[in-house]
Amino acid sequence: MTRHRKIDHPDNDNRLDSMAQGVLGKPVDRLEGPLKVSGLATYASEARPSGMAHGVLVRATITKGRVVGIDRQAALALPGVMTVITDPRMVRYPAQGMAGKGPKAGPDVVDYHGQPIALVVAEGFEQARHAAKALRITYEEEPAPTDPDTVTPEVPDAKQKAQGDLDAAIRDAAFSVDCTYTTPTLMAVAMEPHAAIAEWDGDRVTVRAALQMLASDRKQLADALGVGPEQVRLLAPYVGGGFGSKLGIAPEAVAAAIAAKELGVPVSVALTRMQEFDITHRRSESRQRVLLAAGADGVLTGIGHEALVSNLPDSPFSEPVTQATPFTYQAAHRRIAHRIARVHRSCAGSVRAPGEAIGVTVFEAALDELAEAAGIDPVELRLRNIPDREPGTGRPYSVNRLGDCLREGAHRFGWNQRRAPKERLEGEWFIGMGMAAAVRVNMLIESRARVTLTEDGAKVETDMTDIGTGTYTILRQIAAEMLGLPVDLVEVHLGDTDFPPAAGSGGSFGAASSGTSVYLACEDIRARIAERMGCTDAELRLQDGRASFRNDTRELRELLAGEVLVAEGHVEPGDAEKQARQATWGAHFAEVAVSRHTGEVRVRRMLGVFACGRILNEKTARSQCLGGMTFGIGMALTEGVEHDPRTGHIVNRDLAGYHLPSHADVPEQDVVFLPDRDGFAGPMQAKGIGELGICGAGGAVLNAIYNACGVRVRDLPATPDKVMP
């Protein structure tokens, strides 16, 4: 039985609020926790099928051109070396998330320095690693631009928007700001490097892989290999972080499958950390100009947001920097500009909250500049500019909690203690506070799940992934809540394309989309139980393995009488997403200390207040937000790729050169969720969480730096050399 629902109308029944089990939303421990803390959760590179060989990818050392010769002899002569593969099906870079096809193939054409061009396979990992160094490759090299500032960018018409006369608004404004910020290339840097183990059985291949969205990944891999999707099975029960970098298939999975077929043995290919930097998608660097015009009362009359980003020629993705700008604040006169520089740096793609992560961060820093210019408190300035309806379209908001988040955050953080720049000095440290709004679009994606109820409990199956987001746990809670079972009686099986295809983990839509599919499957099972109880679903009470209707209470076991109830839930987005502007909302507050001597910045405390619909698990939701806020610390203070000015390649291509925040960089962080329901998001009223925490967080830190020491850093990250007051 399949219960299908297209979300064409807001669903404000809030059915989950009347369920009896009382586990949904609770801070339940992670289902897979015991496996993860004892090292027994197995990630992509951790199977050992017998006879497995090891492959190591070889990178191009030119920026653009063609491979004209590969001398394999030296490599093949080394002990243990089995083959050198340069199959034309090997791909040059990862697929974009949800793409229906494989990425560009043909490793002999080089699009960027660091591109994989061959795979060396040997019996032992050490043998393959060394042999990969022994290939002699000759190229025909072509000149290629690598610096976005030196090329004439594309200006796609569809991405330019204007309303009113922004220039006039700036001219007539009581206060205005015209500032330009730059953000560097940023990397996802999941702790688990990309890896794949491919094994063929006849014409079917099974690939254990580090991937976020198995349903579309399967199609991409099949397309890349030239086989049918039914011939590809992907397994990803545990994924060591994604943050966008594992949305689409990447060169290692294709290469492993090709090698395994050629050799007739399972082949493992894992990227090295340096290859992660070379090959996986980067978040494009950006140059952002923000123009703001306001009256003396701080009410905005004009908003301009212009972005320059980059990608390889022909790549369909460009970082949607201004995504939230059209609907966050009101102003009669508006202009959005989006330019794309075509350069031969590595491929740009989605990294956690593409668009808002850097767009909101910069916009919120610019608003701080306006607040300063106008002499208006930054929280107050934002409160004065929250629109009633979506500007431009006039659509209503599904809900807009920005004002609530700002007020709640200001109160909890002690915002009224904020002083003028350089007024608070403790020893050598200037202390300052900053804030920023958080906003991120909300999406629902088609998703399916199967739920099986037996006398012993329930089982959820879907090819959804848990990349650290808490999927195992929240799906368990949803099923337990809907079916009236203690959480321990619900098993969850994920990460296998043999299960019904799910939305996958991306765009913060995973929990709500796959969760709704589980909800729907459970709804179907509830209906069948209700029938047996002689009541409607609304009248049925399920709790602790018992069904009740009025005075009649029966054990589920008795109702099932040995029967197994199976249902599939299938959710699709519908008209509801067109009827209203859906987004998630929040406010970030940060307090920093800045050394007056060295410009070192230490974040002392941070608060995020968020409204993102129904919270499915307080504990895992909070952790998602902590992670996002810490990405914000990294964006503001420590992270940034440096491209070689000659080759365009990433120079700081390891974790000693690309600085993720360490323990010592991250202070106490508070996360507060406002009680929230959004019927436009579907029957669960749940929305995305994973990305909201990063959107704007870095802006709060940058604004706090200014408030501490009077230095406005517009070229991120704010490393000590740029801050030195």
Binding site: H597, R602, V651, H659, A664, D665, P720
Partner: protein, 324 residues
């Protein structure tokens, strides 16, 4: 990593006679071997030699070459009498790496210049005559002092900076017997031979580092880096300063992150001697430290940063009010 012959040394003499590449902590050597930047044919494991003790010698200390960084930092004699050394060690690397890295190995750390690490890019240190990619490339972390047109790599060690300020002496066992090399003469500037970094000859084994009698005074190690922990220095300074009657009786200063070796400028120390501390005096000392600097586009900030770090560190060591 290329194949190599592995053996374990049973004595210092055995190790020296081998003429092989020595491995102890492995924290840098294995890193370089994986990249095939270091390609030894023979590797002799010296980690079990009896060189892991810290003992008094004269009025100073003799630190065995195999004493781990964490043990050295935690040693009570070091904490009490050479705190600048403890502080420098604790400012470097991570708890895990300090548990592995040895005193001798730390002195021999290779640069962290990203082009030295990237075998796709020319590097004179890796391959003499190939060219320097850091010049004209990304060079934010590179050196501004003591550089040449062949190489602008910076020395990455924190420990060695403190050793420099403490006038440590490196004890070396070689084919011709034991010799003692003052740390000021241990490192070589790149000049035209950036691949030659120290005074060691093939087969030489560092057996100990000797610290002279404690200098007393105030010990400071201040390191500025891109994150709060677990990062290499942009600029660091080790300062040992003794005050007498309101003037600086003597000062030893050494810098990290600025040069191809821990950097010490005696003229700057002389300028401080006998003077009452003041911001103007510290500025004069910084002038002397930084004279002759040859910054690149990305790392020119190191000059003002070094000036500020020096001033702040000296003010702290002289117990001045925080200078305005």
């Amino acid at each position: 990593m290329r194949e190599f012959q592995y053996s374990r040394a049973t004595s210092v003499a055995d190790a020296v006679a081998s003429g092989a590449t020595f491995i102890a902590g492995g924290t840098n050597l294995l890193d370089l071997m994986k990249h095939e930047i270091a390609v030894p044919g023979r590797v002799v494991d010296i980690s079990r030699l009896d060189l892991d003790r810290i003992e008094p010698e004269g009025e100073g200390l003799r630190i065995g070459a195999l004493v781990r960084n964490s043990d050295l930092a935690a040693d009570h004699r070091v904490r009490q009498s050479y705190p600048v050394l403890s502080r420098a060690l604790l400012a470097g690397a991570s708890g895990q790496l300090r548990n592995m890295a040895t005193t001798g190995g730390n002195l021999l750390q290779r640069t962290r210049c990203p082009y030295f690490y990237d075998t796709a890019m020319p590097c004179n240190k890796r391959e003499p005559g190939a060219g320097c990619s850091a010049i004209g490339g990304v060079n934010r972390m590179n050196a501004v002092l003591g550089v040449s047109d062949q190489c602008i790599a910076a020395h990455p060690s924190d420990m060695a900076v403190a050793m420099m300020a403490l006038d440590a002496v490196v004890e070396v066992e070689g084919a011709s017997g034991t010799r003692r090399i003052p740390i000021t003469e241990f490192y070589r500037l790149p000049g035209d031979t950036p691949h030659m970094e120290t005074a060691l000859d093939r087969g030489d084994l560092i057996t100990a580092v000797l610290l002279p009698a404690p200098k007393g005074g105030e010990h400071r190690y201040r390191k500025v880096r891109d994150r709060a922990s677990y990062a290499f220095a942009l600029v660091s300074v080790a300062a040992v300063v003794r005050m007498e009657g309101g003037v600086i009786a003597d000062a030893a200063l050494a810098f990290g992150g600025l040069a191809p070796m821990p950097w010490r400028v005696s003229a700057a120390e002389d300028a401080l001697q006998g003077q009452p501390p003041s911001p103007a005096l510290f500025d004069r000392a910084a002038d002397l430290v930084l004279s002759g600097a040859q910054p690149q586009e990305d790392n020119a900030f190191k000059l003002p940063m070094a000036r500020r770090v020096l001033a702040a560190t000296l003010a702290d060591a002289c117990r001045m009010e925080d200078p305005q």
